[in-house]
Amino acid sequence: METSPVITMRDLKRHYSMGEETVKALDGVDLEFLKNDYAAIMGPSGSGKSTLMNIIGCLDTPTSGTYILNGQNVAEMDDDELARVRNREIGFVFQTFNLLPRINCLRNVELPLIYAGVNPREREERATEALNRVGLGDRITHKPTELSGGQIQRVAIARALINNPSIILADEPTGNLDTATSQDIMEIFSDLSKAGNTIILITHEEDIALYTRRIIRLRDGRIESDKKQ
């Protein structure tokens, strides 16, 4: 059975004008992601990976082209609608500064639910459950400063999961981690993928990309290759 794509991008461009010259961070990208895709976006530094990620995550809007997310045309949305989409449809995991340093794990994880208008009791229940899922059920009252890098990324994954988003987006989630910890984190992503989540992650490490089922290579703002594996 062929499902309709979660994401459709057509001739997507993102240009930055830097005074005289324009930087073509994305220069005509056509992409589709289906439900339960597990994809890695790769490419050299400056090839436009983060820019693409920001647009997929509705943190940024394209200069031109179409971007359809779950049937909604994102390019036409205003700030508040984008905020809503980020809240409901997207779960983010970043490379750094993932958690607010001064509040505990539980409060960090429940943040998206506050912006979704979920009541405090349900928030706490769901945040606890999400933390259990990433194996941090015993760390809920710890602050990020008391956690290791790997644990912080796991908390971030728990937060990304909490609102049952359509896609989980991770920008170099293992970029700051040692190999063993990176493998732990990738195991979690693989498990989530098996559980039916749609996951897109950026990496420049081949062995990280090998965990996924699809590798998209970018170069100079264009897609160089897009292979299933």
Binding site: R84, R86, F94, F97, P112, R159
Partner: protein
Amino acid sequence: MKRSLKQFRYETAESLHIALFQIRANKIRSFLTALGVIIGIVAITMMGTAINGIDRGFDKSLAMLGYDVIYVQKSSWSTMGQWWRYRNRADLKTSYTEAINRTIEDNPNSNLLVAVPQMSTYQASVQYRDLTIEQAFALGTSYRYPQTASGDLSSGRFFTPTESAAGTMVAVIGDDIATGLFGEREAVGNIIKMKNSRFRVIGVFRKQGKFLGLFSFDNQVIMPLGAFEKTFGKKGFVTLRVKIRDQKQVDDAKAELLGIMRRIRRLPPQKEADFSINEQKAFKSQLDPIKNGIAAAGIFITGMSLFVGAIGIMNITFVSVKERTREIGLRKALGARRNTILMQFLIESVMICLIGGLIGLVTSFLMTWAIATALPDFPVQFSPALVFASLVVSVATGIISGLAPAVNASRLDPADSLRYE
């Protein structure tokens, strides 16, 4: 709708939480930020307290004069100090009161009740044995004087119509005179000396305090008019005390009295009155410029410190927004809307200002209390309206100073903010 209301509630709760957290995490910075507001609020409340106190002290003084008594005198209270304007006026006569009272009796609709004569001098000295009090205020009047004056007797009685008519040498004295001459002992029944006359003390007034802190009612020696003239001659300063029926119709009463007085003085219609009708309101209008002066100074100081405070808060909030750019980016990535971020920073600056306002209120409350304890006679008065006004001003300062940085924060681009180092 219901959902967004809930969302608003939870987001506001979150913002309050963050704000408290932020303030606690940066105690010194928050305090310094709030200092301008603290000073502003102290200035507001101290000014308001001073004005309140002056008003109260003033009202107390005016109550001594009586709200329902008007005074016919040679000069006007509202142009005090311009004595030359009245120098050539003919003296008033105490006998005018008889004419006035006859007119009142003939007119059942009169706004006036009774006229009482008063002849007085500031330069009386009172003696009892070897004790002397200089500068007492001697006042000759009729037995109806108590109808036109405040103040009860603490002992003895006022003089009778018979004593009044005969000019009997009796005196009712103020509390300061009584304690000055007799101490704790009973004054009534003793003989005091003024000039070369001897008076029997028949009554003592209860202590009244000073009028506007200047003139003491406790310094009076009141006697029948005949006795006054025998002692001091007929050259005393004449006042006609006229009690009116209704203090709300004081203007009608004044107009009526003006007509009566003009007839008594036989003034042709085109001629200006050569006497003045005074009421306590005249003092009030004299005091208003002083009060306005205090208010203006207070508002200026308040305005300056609030302005400086507001700029400080704006500055700090801008710094705070800068420092927390990545936090703002992260919150936006997780679904915070523009208004959510706007509210978060507004609530923070309002909270700082409110805390500053509360500290200011407590400070001025303590100051007021200290002043009231140290100087019981000094009129200070702390009112709930001031507390309310201070809190409103604090919140307004918070909103005004927090708005620009908060709008700034709410408009930050999420992708840029997340990349910000």
